[in-house]
């Protein structure tokens, strides 16, 4: 990762910007039922441990190129992204197939409630983090 970031630094012109955006594994995602107005939280979806380790490695790589003064940290933040599903079964199938997220949600509503609304639309609300890094190259 540090190699790739160093290459990004090489191809960036002085004053250039690197944007790193990826799902934020430090914050849980949510399984939500879509209501007429708004959303009802049904469960919590964690990131699997291998992906958390990958994300930490990415964080270390960023920290390393900043330490080497290839980049300076700029603005950063987090936003939420929703993926919608036609039913609870579709959401479950997505979780089962998805490599990054835990295969099962931790439900915060009881089984009867899940059954009652199983045919409704659902969504997974995921946190995405971003950071802008400015190249430290001096102007030519």
């Amino acid at each position: 990762m540090v190699d790739a970031l160093s290459e990004a630094h090489r191809v960036l012109a002085p004053g250039g910007m690197l944007v790193d955006a990826r799902p934020d594994s430090r914050v849980v995602a949510y399984a939500e039922r879509v209501k007429a107005r708004g959303y009802q939280r049904f469960g919590i979806v964690k990131t699997n441990s291998a992906e958390i380790a990958n994300d930490r490695a990415s964080d270390r790589a960023i920290a390393e190129v900043v330490r080497r003064r290839l980049f300076q940290r700029g603005r950063r933040g987090r936003y939420w992204h929703r993926v919608h599903f036609d039913s609870l079964a579709e959401l479950r199938k997505y979780l089962w197939e998805h490599l990054r997220l835990a295969r099962r949600a931790r439900w915060i509503v009881d089984a009867a409630t899940r059954t009652r609304y199983a045919g409704d639309h659902f969504a997974i609300r995921r946190p995405v983090r971003y950071e802008l890094l400015k190249t430290s190259k001096p102007p030519r």
Partner: protein, 117 residues
């Protein structure tokens, strides 16, 4: 924190692989979160790990040139096809790894790692 959401993705899991770009935020929504079109307007942009060109093609309207690179040859072929289909003329795609970029020094103003690192 704000909410962003694409439209409905019907039959998800049946029609799209779990990591498909169709399930990611729309390019302009991402761009808005990062600071808006001014971040790329008139600039030379490299999308590192471009996949099927989701982000690169989405912001090509604003950038002067857009390059995408990805180690997945099938994804790059899909990006090229999508660019042709949509008449995007300022986008180029290449197969390659981020550790050895086939571009000269100082070739870009913005490098984007969108769901890549």
């Amino acid at each position: 924190m704000k909410n962003t959401g694409p439209g409905w993705v019907s039959g998800v899991g049946k029609q799209f692989p779990a990591q498909a770009s169709a399930l990611r935020p729309r390019p302009l929504e991402e761009l808005r979160e990062w600071g808006g079109a001014r971040l790329v307007r008139g600039k030379r942009l490299l999308d590192l790990g471009c996949g099927d060109g989701r982000f690169a093609l989405g912001v090509a309207l604003y950038a002067s040139t857009v390059d995408g690179i990805d180690p997945d040859a099938a994804a790059v072929a899909a990006a090229r096809k999508l660019a042709r289909k949509n008449g995007v003329r300022n986008a180029r795609f290449a197969v390659g790894a981020g550790q050895r970029l086939p571009y000269p020094d100082d070739a870009f103003d913005v490098v984007v790692l969108s769901w890549t690192l």
